[in-house]
Symmetry: C2
Subunit: 583 residues, 2 copies
């Protein structure tokens, strides 16, 4: 056994240990020479402990200690002693004690790090931190996040395993399908000219596993999408993938509610209570303009189309739909310039304009106030629940087109006006999604989720007559304005499946080409089944209150899809490309 076998971690020692000998290993967080003594804070994944080196204990040791620098790795033996009354540090778990060193071994030196290992690092550019990710990950904050991520996975696996779910690994080297997002391709050397595709999700495999009788499957699976990266997207991401047989929507919803409770209580120590409220897609779109609203605050959309048509304001008269928000008490918060900004912001979401009215005691301050008769103004106040000091904002457009700008405005106002406690969590479900949507380019129906989604039983009769009204057995879990999970019950009946395929213009040949092996599988006794997928990265972001997805991933890619630490992607040897038959 090496001499530096630790007896405790740097986060472990307390007053109870007074007088005990302990061996600690870790990194020198900082050091100071004070009154002839050397003081250091020794850091490891578990915490930080103050260590004192006294020349009277061992002169040689004290000399080595004087040469310690930040991030040197040491092993130290010493006696646990209480700190002097005035020197205690209540911010540190070990702040009541210090270790009076008797032996010191220098395990490794460190060059001067390009940034400090601590909260100060956040001031350093993300590029430099990603380039030296080994140092960035040494920060206690990052270590806490990856620890949390581990515990979310562990809790999930325990929860599902206890309920009879099997984790089954599905292939990373799969088949490319023309559906969905762009695949990452992997050229085959053995079969030149052919390619594997990295999975966008294990969707087809998990349905195959249900056909194969696995009954309750899950996998914490790596998925890939070669899309242009938005701020919070990564080319590879992780999803908790679940599928069950002989169940219906309520079973999946109940299962996930239980899991969410377990994660919240086990990891954050927070109690949430199922069942979570369920909202229909129609309802959410009408009231919030989006199917995943942040429900930690109200500010519902109000439809004033009828009233608007009565006014003299042309834009209102002619718009098929006029809907608005009441930002309570916000009239003073937005100057003319602020309102211009809100208008531009709504414009980014497709609004061709933004009508605003500040509510005064008996009138409105607004460029459009003049278009409202007194009676109309009264009706407007009533409809909007308007009181003096409120700010009313309206979008006049097609009903469909006003969703996005109103939802975005509501989201922005909720944040800017601090309408909710950012530490709150609100869990709810969106259900009864439309099964189909119109593809604006082709004018055809396309499957809103995927083409194996089961329609609601009571809407089956509408499939041929009014397909736009057919609702799907689909369900999304909404947490604080994010889609935290989403799933569907699948089509397992060949006749119904054929009907849906024909609606979305997939003839048998085309369907066979795209989904051949799943269609084959479904012929041999597919059980009723359905599932759900939870974005792990998003869950960690929600739980840790992160804004940047890169903070919840050990080795993330930049928005240019590069890894600044390793330099991936990179050039490869021409010999290697020749072997693959590539140019």
């Amino acid at each position: 056994m090496p001499s530096w076998q630790r007896t405790h971690t740097c986060g472990e020692l307390r007053l109870d240990h007074e007088g005990e000998e302990a061996t600690l290993n870790g990194w020198v967080n900082n050091w100071r020479d004070h009154g002839g003594l050397v003081f250091i804070d020794l850091r490891d994944r578990y915490g930080m402990t103050q260590v004192v080196f006294d020349p009277n204990t061992d002169e040689e040791m004290h000399k080595v200690a004087r040469d310690l620098r930040s991030e040197y790795v040491i092993s130290v033996v010493g006696k646990v002693a209480p700190r002097l009354e005035g020197k205690r540090n209540p911010k540190l778990d070990t702040g009541d004690i210090e270790l009076k060193a008797t032996k010191l071994e220098l395990l490794n030196r460190s060059e001067v790090t390009p940034f400090e290992i601590g909260p100060e690092a956040e001031a350093t550019s993300e590029e430099i931190r990603l380039r030296h990710r080994y140092l960035d990950l040494r920060r206690p904050r990052m270590q806490r996040i990856l620890d949390l991520r581990h515990r979310v996975c562990k809790t999930t696996r325990d929860y599902l395993s206890e309920r009879g779910f099997l984790e089954v690994e599905t292939p990373m080297l799969g088949r490319s399908t023309p559906e969905g997002a762009r695949d990452f391709l992997v050229p085959s050397r053995v079969n030149p000219g052919d390619f594997y595709a990295l999975p966008q999700s294990p969707q087809l495999y998990k349905q195959i596993l249900m056909v194969a009788g696995y009954d309750r499957y899950f996998q914490i699976a790596r998925c890939f999408r070669d899309e242009d990266l938005r701020a919070n997207r990564q080319p590879e991401f992780t999803q908790v993938d679940i599928e069950m047989s002989f169940i219906d929507m309520d079973d999946i919803i109940g299962l996930i509610e239980g899991l969410a409770c377990e994660i919240m209580s086990g990891i954050l120590g927070r109690t949430i209570t199922p069942p979570f409220p369920r909202y229909t897609w129609d309802d959410l779109m009408r009231r919030y303009g989006v199917d995943r609203p942040d429900l930690r605050f109200g500010m519902e959309i109000v439809d004033i189309t009828g009233l608007a048509h009565e006014t003299d304001f042309k834009v209102f008269q002619q718009a098929p739909s006029v809907r608005g928000l009441n930002a309570k008490g916000a009239a003073d918060r937005y100057s003319r310039k602020g309102l211009d900004e809100l208008t531009a912001f709504a414009g980014e979401y497709g609004a061709r304009g933004l009508a605003w009215l500040k509510v005064d005691a008996n009138s409105f301050t607004s460029p459009i106030a003049k278009f409202f008769s007194e009676e109309q103004a009264g009706k407007l106040r009533e409809a909007m629940g308007a009181e003096p000091g409120d700010l009313l904002l309206f979008v006049a457009d097609r009903y469909d087109a006003s969703h996005a700008p109103l939802a975005a405005l509501r989201h922005r106002l909720g944040k800017e006006l601090e309408l909710y406690n950012p530490d709150d969590f609100h869990f709810s479900w969106c259900v009864d999604f439309p099964l189909l949507e119109h593809d604006a380019d082709t004018g055809h129906w396309v499957a809103r989720h995927h083409p194996f989604t089961m329609p609601l039983e009571e809407d089956w009769h509408l499939l041929e007559t009014e397909p736009e009204k057919v609702r799907a057995k689909a369900y999304d879990l909404i947490v604080n304005g994010e889609e935290a999970a989403g799933g569907t019950i699948r089509l397992h009946k060949p006749d119904l499946q054929a009907k849906v395929f024909s609606l979305i213009g997939l003839d048998e040949e085309e369907a066979q080409k795209r989904f051949g092996f799943l269609l084959d599988a479904l012929k041999y006794g597919a059980p009723p089944h359905g599932g759900i997928a939870m974005g792990l990265d998003r869950w960690v972001m929600l739980l840790a209150k992160l804004e940047n997805i890169r903070d919840c991933i050990a080795f993330p890619k930049t928005q240019r899809a590069t890894d600044l630490m390793t330099g991936a992607p990179s050039e490869v040897e021409p010999r290697h490309l020749r072997e693959l038959g590539l140019k």
Copy 2:
């Protein structure tokens, strides 16, 4: 809730449930019409239950039951009743009861399956089974294997998590390195001409995590190697990857011994006792010709070089080394033809010949018996522990060259002569590997494991003078002749690392090119660290006594690296290739 919500699984009902109403869901395993009743065995992942449909209970139901066929999916409600005394089936967990159906719902039909879902399927070609993997995986045997695989992973995660290990996900889209096996490449669309590589192992990342202070890391990680596939290789495989800081070899060995015990007892109900015996590499090569011998039986290699040089047999006289095996009592088992086969077999492993002697009471039956004087024959008997009826086999060659054929012969004889109980497990360690080996092509030293392997402290002084004698802090876990895990303590000291690099002919520039980011990381306070990797597929094969690696993977590839079910790899649309800048 759908009417088919099950109350029990098909493996659950016992005599205790007599008189209870139960709802079962599953697949019709087989059915027969007998005395006016329809009998079926209903199967799910958990077992099989006999269900009886009586026309007197419900004529309509009985009519539907008569039309049931194999692999139809049904839900059935009924009363649990004891079977008649003579009709009980002790082979079935539910064999004492049957379910007297009162309600039947046909959930889905099935076409006639291309093979029976049961042990009979093994007679069907593997190609057909892989093509219809959803049916192959429906076989109870395959379901048991995937269940076992899940439990191995679960046990491993529980064991490591309880000991403070964090599971950290490392990237799949990594950087290609010129080391090791051939990488699978992924062309980058955002950075045309550049490629990601799928990881051969998370080796560099896990060392980075140690530098980052994570202290105890693990991951059940997918790894990739684009090699020509041998019978028991797959292009993607799974490994339990572990790394620890502030530890030495004994810590890793102790950790893995504990895990092996937990897996053996928790999953197979078998007790094994640590510590496992440790053998040095030299010792194993000398006694078994291989560093992962099957130690469930003896039959050690005996070196008779000295004696052989005294005989009149030229081949023996001139060979630098003559070593052999005593196949106890096997003389009668191998005819002249059988011995020719063994000779050809040894030839496949490089032996230029195989000398054999059958031991009689006072003489040998052998073409080379005449070369031995009576005294030499006596010495040979003594050296080999030979008794009448034994078969002696010798390889005369360089010491190094005789390892492979002798090890292969020993392995084959052990199996053919049934020298061990195939249900036994033998766990041991191989340690003290040579740090370096000669590359026959270049004549240079190369790292036997990887270039970051720590030499044994007591051999550091030999690095410059006798590098061939330097032993590595490397350790392999051997189970039944397989390498079940392997790892090393890593070089964390820059000066020592530089010495090893220069030995293997890596100058600073070249080292920087190959391992740049790890070398950079090691400059900033790397702790002493080491780790190990366990092949999950191999573990499942060992535990389930499988011969074919494809049986332990849900969706395996063939030896041509294709997935017969999905058709991957496949052609992709030219548009997609253009986007990647590929031809």
